[in-house]
Symmetry: D2
Subunit: 325 residues, 4 copies
Amino acid sequence: MLITLKKESRSLEKALAGRFRKVPHGERIVYIVDGKIPEDLLAELDIESSKETSRSFKLASREYSEEATRVRVGEAEFGGPKIVICAGPCAVEGHQLLLDAARAVKDAGASVLRGGAFKPRTSPYSFQGLGEEGLRMLRGVSEEVGIPVLTEVTAPEQVSLASRYADALQIGARNMQNFELLKAVGRAGRPAVLKRGSSATIEEWLLAAEYLLLEGNWEVILCERGIRTFETATRNVLDVAGIALTKTMTHLPVIADPSHATGRRELIAAASRAAVAAGADGLLIEVHPKPEIAMSDGPQSLTIREFELLMKEVKEIARAVGRCV
Amino acid sequence: MLITLKKESRSLEKALAGRFRKVPHGERIVYIVDGKIPEDLLAELDIESSKETSRSFKLASREYSEEATRVRVGEAEFGGPKIVICAGPCAVEGHQLLLDAARAVKDAGASVLRGGAFKPRTSPYSFQGLGEEGLRMLRGVSEEVGIPVLTEVTAPEQVSLASRYADALQIGARNMQNFELLKAVGRAGRPAVLKRGSSATIEEWLLAAEYLLLEGNWEVILCERGIRTFETATRNVLDVAGIALTKTMTHLPVIADPSHATGRRELIAAASRAAVAAGADGLLIEVHPKPEIAMSDGPQSLTIREFELLMKEVKEIARAVGRCV
Amino acid sequence: MLITLKKESRSLEKALAGRFRKVPHGERIVYIVDGKIPEDLLAELDIESSKETSRSFKLASREYSEEATRVRVGEAEFGGPKIVICAGPCAVEGHQLLLDAARAVKDAGASVLRGGAFKPRTSPYSFQGLGEEGLRMLRGVSEEVGIPVLTEVTAPEQVSLASRYADALQIGARNMQNFELLKAVGRAGRPAVLKRGSSATIEEWLLAAEYLLLEGNWEVILCERGIRTFETATRNVLDVAGIALTKTMTHLPVIADPSHATGRRELIAAASRAAVAAGADGLLIEVHPKPEIAMSDGPQSLTIREFELLMKEVKEIARAVGRCV
Amino acid sequence: MLITLKKESRSLEKALAGRFRKVPHGERIVYIVDGKIPEDLLAELDIESSKETSRSFKLASREYSEEATRVRVGEAEFGGPKIVICAGPCAVEGHQLLLDAARAVKDAGASVLRGGAFKPRTSPYSFQGLGEEGLRMLRGVSEEVGIPVLTEVTAPEQVSLASRYADALQIGARNMQNFELLKAVGRAGRPAVLKRGSSATIEEWLLAAEYLLLEGNWEVILCERGIRTFETATRNVLDVAGIALTKTMTHLPVIADPSHATGRRELIAAASRAAVAAGADGLLIEVHPKPEIAMSDGPQSLTIREFELLMKEVKEIARAVGRCV
C-alpha cells in the first residue's frame, strides 16, 4: 500500500516497526507499506492519498499516479504533448565537431544535445571517451548554443562529476541493473534517462526505475533502445508495442532510441516514425557531422542532412497522433 | 545471374546443361543461371533484361526488380499507394457472425475479409476449424457482402480445395518452412500471404518466398507477425524496422499482423500505427463481433467499435507517410 | 480426466455426449474426458485405471504413465537402460556412400541408421533429396547391413510411401507444428522421432507429441536438437536441462541431436557427452564417410573415425550414469 | 601482435609511439601492438615469445597461450585436472547458517565456499545483503572451517573492501559489462570469477575478461550461468556447447553455475553432470541448510543432503572424462 502524507509521521513509523520505506515526492512523503496499517492509526493520519498496486514496482506504477509525469530538462519537457528530440554524436570527440552538431540539431528542432564522455565499450581496445574533458566540452557547447545536455554515467563515482556539467544523466542499457549506479543517480538531483537492458523484460526495467524513485529522484525518463533477439540483420529489435505497453504500466515518460535499436542508418527514419506512432514521448538519435570519421557508432549515425529530413517526417507522424515536435 | 527472355531458348538450355532454373513471369521467361553463360551465346539471345544479385533469394530480391510488385486480391491492391486492410475473425465459426463481421469491417474501410477454416492450433484439444464448411461460408459471405476473402491453408492437399473458395491463400507462421505446402501454393494460381515464422530471420523468410516464386507464383505478399523473444508481456515482438529493411531487400509487398504480434487487444492500435509508419503496405487484423465468445484468439480480437477507431488512427498515419487507406 | 477401459463403452460415450476423445492404447481404450463423469456410471464401468493431470498434454504426461514408455525400432529400444545411437549421413546421396556409412556406424555401436530422402532446405536452390530413390537405397542398405533405418517425412502425402521403406519416421524441427503431418504420422503405424522446434517451448513440443498419440501412435521419441537464441557462435543451443525437465513431464523417451544443436563438428562430442549425462535416452548424429563432399550439413558431420572416438566417450558417460550404449 | 619481453623496452615504446598497450604477466611484460614493428627494432629486442591472433580479445585468446591457465584460490586450482566445486548459500544471512553450510559442503567435497554480502537484486524491495558484516562472517567462517571464500562485488568502491575479506571476487552476470567494475577488479590482486551475461555472446564475454587481463589480473575464471531465451520453463538455458567452445577460444578456466542456469532444484544435478561432461573445470552451486527459509534463491538452492548426492554423481562423470573432483 502507498500512503502519501503532508509530512513524516513518527507514530506511523513506530506502528509499522520497519515494515515500510519512505520517499519524499515534492513536498509530500510517500510511505510504501508492507502489510496492513492498524485501522485506528489510519483514521488519525492526515492522508493525502492512498493507493493499492499489485505491481512489483510501486512508485513507478500507473496505480501510484494516473497522471503522466512530466520531466523537464532545460526547456524541454518529456511526457507532455510535445515529442522531445535529443540528438548529437555518440561520443564527444572534439569541441568543433560537437559545436557543429549542436547547432545543426538545434536548428533542425532538437531540444536536447546528447554526447558521451564516458563510453561503455564492448572491447577495451575501442575508444573509451574523453572523460572530464568531454564533459567540459559539453558544458561549453551547451552554453554557447543554448541547449541542455544529456550524458552517460557508467560508475557511481562519476555521478557527482557529471552532474556538475550535464543537465541530465543517462544510464545505458548495459548498466540497467548496475544497482549501485542506479542508487547514485537516484541521489544526484538530475533528471535521468534509463535505457532498457538489451534482454530486460519491461517489468525488470520498471524495477530498475524503482531504484531511482526510491532514492527520491522522480525525474526518470525511460528509453526503449531495442532488444536482443535471434535476428542479426539489425543490431537489435525495437519493441514498439513494448513502448505502448510500458506507458500503460507506468506514469513515467518513455522515449525511443532508434539508432541503437537498428544499428543501421537507413532504418532510423522508419524506426523513429514507428516509435512516435506507437506513443513514444521522444527520440534519442545519434547525429554526427561526419559519420565516416566517427570514433564510435558511425554506421548508425545520421548526417545533419539526414537528420533534418527525419525531423520533417517525425513532425508529420507527431501531428497524426495529435502531438507536435 | 538472372536473364529474362521473351520465350524459352533451347540453345541456352542446352549450353547450360542443367545449370539453370526457369520460371515464367507474365509473358516472359526468367532463367536463373548458376555460373557463366558463354559470350557468343549471350550475343545471340534476345535478352529483355539481365540482372546480378548476391542475394540467396534471387527472384524475390530488389536486384531482380527495382520496381515494387503490386498484388491484386479482388479490388484491393497490395504494394501500391494504398494501405490495404484485411480484417475479420480468426476462425470462421458460423454464417451470421461472419456476415456481421464482414459487413462491419467493409463499412469501416477494410478491403479484404480474413477468416480461417483450417486452424493450426498448438493443442489438439483446441477448436480446429470448420474445414470445407467454413470455406463455403467464406465464399457465401464474400459474394453477399462484396469483399474478397483470404484464408489459411495448412497442408498441400487443402490447396486446391481452398483455391476454389478463396481469393487468396495464407501460409501461417508455423508453416513458413513447410516447403511442400509452399510448392503447392506456388502452383495454386492464387495470391499468397506468407507470414514470417516466429523465429525466422528475414533472409529465411525471403527464401521461403523464393519457393513460391520459383513455382511461378509472383503474387506473394509478405506478412510480419511478430517474432518470439525472451519478453513474455506480449505474445511476440513486432519487428517494425524489419518491415522497413525487408522492403529494401525485396520488391514484394510487406504487411503486418498486429494482432498476433501483440496478442493483446489494447496494444493493437499502437502496433498498427507503428507498422504503417514504418512502411507496411497493409494490415491483417483480427476483428470479432463478440470477442468474448470467440473460439480462437478472443483476447487479441478487436470489437467492431475498436476496429472503427483503429481505422481512423491508421488513416491519419497513412496520410502522414504520404499514403491512404 | 483419463479413464482406461478394456473395451469401448457405448454407455459412457452416450452419457458424455461428445465431451470426450478416445484412443486405443495396446488392447485398451483410453477416454480423455472433459469435465465430470456421473458417479453411477463410474461405478458401472470396468475401469483399468483412472488418472488426473493438470497438464495441457494429457496422454503424453507423466501423470498418465509413471512408467517410462519404451519404443522399439528394429532391435533398438529407446527409453530403456541402453543409450540408443542413431547415426548416418544427413542426406542419402548414393548407395555406396550410404553403405559405407551404415557399416561403419553399426560397427562402432550405432543401432539405427539415419538418412534423409526428403530434405527440408532453407533455400530452394539447395539439394532437396533423392525422394523415393533415396528411400529405396535406405531399405537396401538396411537389409544388407542389418540395421533399421530412420528417415524424415516433410508432407502428409509422403508418409505412406516412407512407411513402406523405413522402420521409423522423423518429423523435423521445422515441421513440429505441421499438424496435418503430425496427424498423418500418428496414423502411420511406425515409430516416430519428433524433433523440438527451434523456438518451441517444451510444452508446445509435448502438445505436438499429443497430436501423434491422439491418433493412436504411442511409439513417439522426442528429440531435442538445440534452440535458437541470440548466440551465433553455434548454430543452436542444446538445452540439456530441458532434456532433464522433459523427462519429468512425460513418459516418452527423449534423445538429443548434437549435430544440429551445435552445427560445428568440433563440439559434437562435448554436446553428446553432456546430453547423455543429463539423461538423454539416445543420440542422433550426422556421420559421413567424406564430410567435405557432403551435399548437406558437411560442417557438422563427423567422419567415421571421429564417430568411433565419440562412441568411446559416450560409453564412459553412459556407464557413469548407470546406463550402457 | 603480442610480444613478450623480459622487461620493459623504452626503445620499443618510443618506436611504436602510442600504438601499444603493455601488461605485466608474472615477471614478463606483454606488449599488445597495433600494426607493424620495424624489422630492425625486432632484431634488437630480447623477445621471449611473439604471437599473432585475429581474435578481438588478445590476451584471453588461445593464440596467446596454448597452455591452459591455472588459477589458485586457497588450495583449489581451477583449470587443472581436478573439477573444483564452489558451494554455499546465495546470500550470507547469519553466522550459524553459514558455518553449517561451510562445514557440510567442505565435508562433501567442495573446495571453495561461496556467499554473497552485496546482492544485486532485480527488485529494490528484495533483501540486499549484509554488506561488510556479511564479509566479516565469511572471513570468520573461512578461518574456522578452513576453506577459501568467493564473494560478489557490484561496484568499484566495494572492491578493496571485499578484497580484504575474500579469497576471490565474483562479477555477476548483470555486471559483465560494468566496465568500471571490471577495471577495479583487474587491479584488485585477487582471482576473479567472471560470469557470462544472460544475453552476452561468448565473444563479448571474453572481451569482458580482456578488461581484467589488461589491468594485469591474469587469475580469471569464466563462469557460464545460463543464457536468456524464449523458454520460460527454466530460469535460463545452460549453454554446454558454449562451455566447450569457449575452452577452444581461451586459455582461461571455465566453470558452470547450474543453480542460476536452471533456477529449479530438481534440475541442478542433471545440469551439473552435463556441464562437467562438456568439459567445465568446476561448478558453482547454491547450497543452503534450509532452502525453505533462504532470503534469496531458495527454489534453486540444494539441501545439504541433495548436495552430497550431487557430488557423488559429479565424481562419476569427472572420472568418465578422465578427471577427478
